[in-house]
C-alpha cells in the first residue's frame, strides 16, 4: 500500500487535516511532531493514556510491599522493646511511602515504554529528521485508488508538501 507524507508547519493545520482524514475513514495514519500539542492529541485519539494504569499498579504494589516487608521482617526477627508490639505501623509508613513512590515511578517508566511502543529498533519509513526540527508530519497509508483524494485533502488543509514514501 502506498504511504503518503504530508508536511505541516503548525499544529493547528495537522489537527484539521487529521480530523478530515479520519472523517473520510482514513484511519491508518501516524502524526509526528517536534513537541506535544493538545490539539493534535485531541484530533488523533482523545482517550486518556493507559500510562495511568501502570502508575496505579506500581503505587499499590509499592505500598503493599512496604508494609509487608517491614511487618514480616520484624516478626521474623523480633526486637523486644518493653512489651511493645514487634511491628509498629507509624515508622513503617515512612518505608511504605517511599516504596509507593519508587515502584510507582518505575512502573510509570515501564508504562511509557509499553504504551509508546518503545524501544523501537528500526525507525518508521515515514519518519524524517524534519520532524525533530520544527515541522510536523502526517503519514497516511492508503490504497492505490485513494492516493489522489488523500493528497488533495492534505494539501487543502495547509500541508506545504506531500510526497510518496517507498514502503
Amino acid at each position: 500500500m502506498p504511504t503518503l507524507v504530508g508536511i505541516f508547519d503548525t499544529p493547528g493545520g495537522v489537527a484539521a487535516a487529521v480530523t478530515r482524514l479520519k472523517g473520510r475513514g482514513f484511519d491508518k495514519l501516524e502524526v509526528y511532531s517536534p513537541a506535544p500539542f493538545d490539539e493534535i492529541e485531541q484530533a488523533v485519539d482523545p482517550k486518556p493514556s493507559k500510562v495511568r494504569l501502570f502508575t496505579l499498579a506500581g503505587g499499590l504494589t509499592g505500598v503493599v510491599t512496604g508494609y509487608a516487608l517491614t511487618i514480616w521482617m520484624s516478626l521474623n526477627w523480633p526486637i523486644v522493646i518493653g512489651g511493645k508490639p514487634y511491628a509498629s505501623i507509624p515508622p513503617y509508613t515512612v518505608i511504605a511511602f517511599e516504596l509507593t513512590i519508587l515502584f510507582g515511578g518505575i512502573f510509570t517508566l515501564l508504562g511509557l515504554l509499553a504504551v509508546g511502543r518503545l524501544p523501537k529498533v528500526k525507525l518508521d519509513p515515514g519518519y524524517s529528521a524534519r520532524f525533530s526540527a520544527e515541522e510536523f508530519g502526517v503519514v497516511v497509508e492508503v490504497s492505490d485508488r485513494d492516493v489522489a483524494e488523500v493528497d488533495g485533502l492534505l494539501r487543502a488543509n495547509a500541508a506545504k508538501e506531500v510526497s510518496l514514501v517507498a514502503a
Partner: protein, 461 residues
Amino acid sequence: MTPPPAESVAAMIRPTPLPPDSPTNRDVMRVFMERPGLGWLLLVGICLGGLGGGATVWIYQIYKGLGIAGYSHPVFWGAYIVTFVFWVGIAHAGTLISAILYLFRAKWRNAINRSAEAMTIFAVFTAQLFLGIHVGRIWKAYFILPYPNQRALWVNFKSPLLWDTFAISTYTLTSLIFLYVGLIPDLAIARDRTTGWRKALYGALSLGWQGSSRQWKAHNRTTLHLSGLATPLVLSVHSVVSWDFAMSIVPTWHSTIFAPYFVAGAIFSGFAMVLTVMIPVRRIFGLEHIITNYHFENMTRFLLLTSTIVAYAYGVEFFIAWYSGVEPEQTSFYMRAFGKYWLASWIMMVCNGVFPQLFWFKKLRTHIPTIFVISTLINIGMWFERYVIIIEGLSNEYDPAVWGVYTPNLYELMIVAGSFSFFSILFLIFLKLFPVIPISEVKELIIHDRAHAHGSHAEVH
C-alpha cells in the same frame, strides 16, 4: 589534463545536504557538540586534582580507619555528615523545578529544568559517597540493606537511618527516571543530527523515539504522573534526613520544626546552587536568549521566599528554646550564638537570613553579578547551617562535663573539596554530552507562540 566528469564537479560545488534543523536545535546542540574549550579542560583539570586528593585521603582512611578524621569526644558526626546533608539539600532544586513547577504550569521552568535535574542526580551521587566515607568500615556498608542472610537477621525499620536509606535510594532512582524520560525526545533530536559514536550513543539511549502522537501522549502522561509522585517525594526526603536528627534527644535537634525547616533550607540551597552554576554556563555558551534574566529573576524570588522561611525558623528555634524553659535547650542555643561556634552561626544567619533579603529590590533581582555573589554566599551559608546544627548540637549536650569542641582537620577538608570536584566533573561531562536545555519543551513554547501570533495576525487582516 582531462577535465573531471560534470557530475563530480556538481558534487564538489554542491555541499552535502545537512539534516533539516531548527534554530533551537542548533543553539542547544552547539553547547555539547563543540569541541571542549580551554576553560572547560582547565576546569576539569582542577577538579581532577581535587578529586584525586579526596580519593587518596579516602583510600588512606579506609586503610587507617576513621581515626584520621578530626572527630573528638563528644562530636562523632563531623564534616562528613555536614557535607552529606549539604549535598542532599542541593539535590532538591531539580525535582522542585521539574515536578512542582510542572504541576503549577509555570512555563518559565523550561529553560532551567534540565540543568537543575542533572544537578539533582549529581548532588545525590555526591551525597551517597559520604555514606560510604562516614561508615568507616566500608566493606560492611551493605549491612544497612534488608538482605536475606544465614543468621535470619533483619534491619531495624524503626531507625531513622534506615528510613534515610529508603528515602535517598528512592530519590536517586526516581530523579534518574525523571531526568531520563525528559531526555528521550532530545536524544532523538541529537540522534538525527550526529554521526559516529555520538549517533550510536544517542540512538541507543533515545530508544527509537520518533515523536509520534502516541508516544507524545504517553510521554505527557508519564511526566505528569512522575511529577505527581516526585512532589511528595521531594518534600519527604529532606524531612526524613531531618528526622535523623529530630528523632534523637540532643538539645537543639529534638524539635518538630525540623522537617519543614530542612525542606525550606534544601530548596533554598538548591536554587542558589542552580544559579551559581547556570550564570557562568549561560555566559560561556551564549544562551542568553533561552535562559533570560526573567528566569533568573523568578529564581531569586524563590530565594527570597525560602530565605525568609529559613530566617523565621532560626528565630523560632531561639524563641522556643527560651519559651520552653528547658535549661539544656536554652544553654545550647546561647552557646550557638555566643559560644565556641559563634562565627559559624553568624555566617549562617547573615548569609542565609540577611543578604538574600536584598532581593526585595527589583534592581538587584535583575543584576546578574549581584545574583551570582548572593547565591554563592547562600551556598556557603547553607553549608555552615548544617555545620552549626550538627556540630554545635553535639558539642553542648546535657552535662557540661562532656562538652567539647570539634574542628575539621585537613583530611576531612580534602574530602569535602573532593566532593565539590566530583560534583563539578559530573556536571562538566554532562554539559559536553547531553542537551543542557530541554529542546523539545522550549520548541513547544516557540511553536505555540508562533501559531498564536499567526492566528491574531490573520484576524487583523
